[in-house]
């Protein structure tokens, strides 16, 4: 689905954020990227979406190098970035407005998703009337409505309190089977990374390390209390501190 080869990037005249980075994401996978602040996670996303151009290396979609990457993936930034003057439904329709797609034809499908996201009664509410968790769900649904197969989620639950975050994990795990999407997910929460992903990439100063999460799906959010989970978490922590 997505394959990154030998990617290097540096902001003007500064020391490179990463050098020779290689990773790939297969169709239908949930892959997380973790790393400390400043390790270049968000920059990686901007490169993949096409907002930035790499100094070196290739970003391939389905094995092909395409000239224009903008508009190829669904991108969900850290902040919800909902438009305050638009209702929930109108916000979700934004990607269709941008691509000038016929809204009417997709309205039944969108209403179905709104219900599935627990937002049916709020479709004519404004973002200021919603809770943090709901806003994040609206932003996620908006990302989904881009219709792209690959979704890039940049710390979508980073700003939520731990209780709400827990609920969102449960909700996302329950939804994952239906989604039929491929996700690349940024987080700095180890528990979240293991719970949600098939594979975890750890961005280090020296390079990138990979960890496979061999936990069966569908998963329950109770998984975090099992010993397998804890072992994996320890392993991951060691990778981050580069002690392996």
């Amino acid at each position: 689905m997505l394959s990154i080869q030998g990617l290097s990037y540096s902001f003007e005249k500064e020391k490179p954020i990463f050098q020779g980075l290689t990773l790939d994401v297969r169709r239908g996978e949930f892959v997380s990227v973790i790393g400390t602040s400043g390790s270049g996670k968000s920059t990686l996303f901007k490169l993949v979406t096409g907002l930035l151009e790499p100094n070196q290396g290739d970003i391939l979609f389905d094995g092909q190098k395409t000239g224009k990457r903008l508009g190829r993936v669904g991108y969900m930034p850290q902040k919800d970035l909902l438009l305050p003057w638009k209702t929930v439904l109108e916000n979700v329709l934004l990607p269709l407005e941008v691509t000038k797609e016929r809204k009417q034809a997709r309205l039944p499908e969108i209403k179905k998703w709104l219900a599935r996201f627990g937002l049916a009664e709020y479709e004519s509410s404004y973002p200021s009337e919603l809770s943090g968790g709901m806003k994040q769900r609206v932003a996620f649904l908006r990302t989904l409505m881009t219709g792209k197969e690959l979704l890039l989620l940049d710390e979508p639950f980073g700003a939520l309190d731990s209780m709400t975050k827990r609920k969102m994990h449960k909700w996302l795990l329950g939804l994952w089977g239906e989604l039929q999407k491929t996700v690349l997910f940024i987080t700095h929460d180890l528990e979240e990374a293991i719970l949600l992903s098939d594979r975890v990439y750890v961005l280090q100063d020296t390079g990138i390390k990979e960890l496979k999460v061999n936990l069966p799906r569908p998963r329950s959010s109770q998984l975090i209390y099992q010993s397998e989970f804890l072992t994996m978490r320890k392993e991951l922590e060691m990778l981050i501190h580069n002690e392996s």
């Binding site: 901007k46 979406t49 096409g50 907002l51 903008l70 508009g71 993936v73 669904g74 991108y75 930034p77 902040k79 970035l81 438009l83 305050p84 003057w85 934004l94 990607p95 407005e97 941008v98 691509t99 404004y126 973002p127 200021s128 881009t146």
Partner: protein, 257 residues
């Protein structure tokens, strides 16, 4: 009805009370002959002058000034929006124009006005030129700055959805700029009244500025004050009108988090 009256009193009651006190104090001071009336006429005398000249003021001079203000404001809005949007879209337009805009505001109006009289004569256009010079600046600046309020994050989000610059402008930047643009419009419309008055002072055959200048030449302080009163009322009224329009347009847009 009762509730709205109560709210209104809460909102403006104190202000009106102070105004009333000031006017009474003023009237009293003049009547006690503490201030000579040719320097500071009593409010009642100003009101009298207003009534005495009402035909002249309301049928000749006020419409003349209003016409200059409206044409000047209209042209400033059109020009200001075009320049502001142009500067937003093109770095080179911005680089070339911005210094000129600032320079245009540092030129003393009184000094440049004789030039306008030379160019446009005593016609309405010399007044409109002064009006535009004072009024377009806040519109350009508020449009240009307003279009930046959306920030980079929204722009990037829409870019990843495959949007072009025009779509980003239409969907994000313009709606986000509207509150700022309206602030600029409110400032500008008040400046228009000032500009038109200055223009009339320097050379005109009608208008409230011309009238007040003629009356001051005759040492008729009460008539001068009457025209100043009308000018300030005109400014307030236009300001409120733009405010009303703003409320109408931004009905949903002010739901900021």
């Amino acid at each position: 009805m009762k509730a709205s009256l109560k709210k209104w009193t809460e909102e403006y009651g104190l202000f009106l009370l102070v105004v009333l006190l000031l006017i009474s104090g003023w009237e009293w001071a003049v009547r006690q002959a503490m201030i000579p009336s040719f320097i500071m006429p009593a409010p009642s005398a100003i009101w009298g002058a207003l009534l005495e000249n009402k035909q002249l003021l309301f049928e000749e001079h006020l419409p003349a000034t209003l016409k200059e203000v409206l044409i000047g404001f209209g042209l400033s809005v059109i020009g200001g929006l075009i320049l502001g949007v142009g500067m937003h879209f093109s770095r080179s337009i911005e680089k070339v124009l911005y210094p000129f805009l600032v320079i245009s505001q540092t030129v003393p109006l009184i000094a440049i006005s004789p030039i306008f009289i030379m160019w446009f004569g005593y016609s309405i256009w010399s007044k409109i030129a002064v009006t535009i010079l004072t009024a377009f600046f806040p519109i350009v600046v508020s449009t240009y700055d307003g279009l930046k309020t959306g920030g980079n994050e929204y722009r990037e989000l829409l870019l990843t959805m495959g949007a072009n610059r025009w779509t980003i402008f239409k969907k994000i930047q313009l709606p986000m700029a509207l509150p700022v643009i309206f602030s600029g419009l409110k400032l500008s419309v008040v400046y228009c009244v000032v500009g038109a008055t200055i223009g009339e002072w320097l050379g005109a055959s009608e208008g409230l500025g011309y009238f007040s200048r003629r009356m001051s030449g005759n040492l008729q302080a009460d008539s001068v004050f009457a025209s100043i009163f009308l000018l300030s009322m005109l400014g307030i009224l236009l300001f409120l009108l733009i405010g009303l329009l703003e409320k109408q347009v931004l009905k949903n847009k002010n739901r900021y988090n």
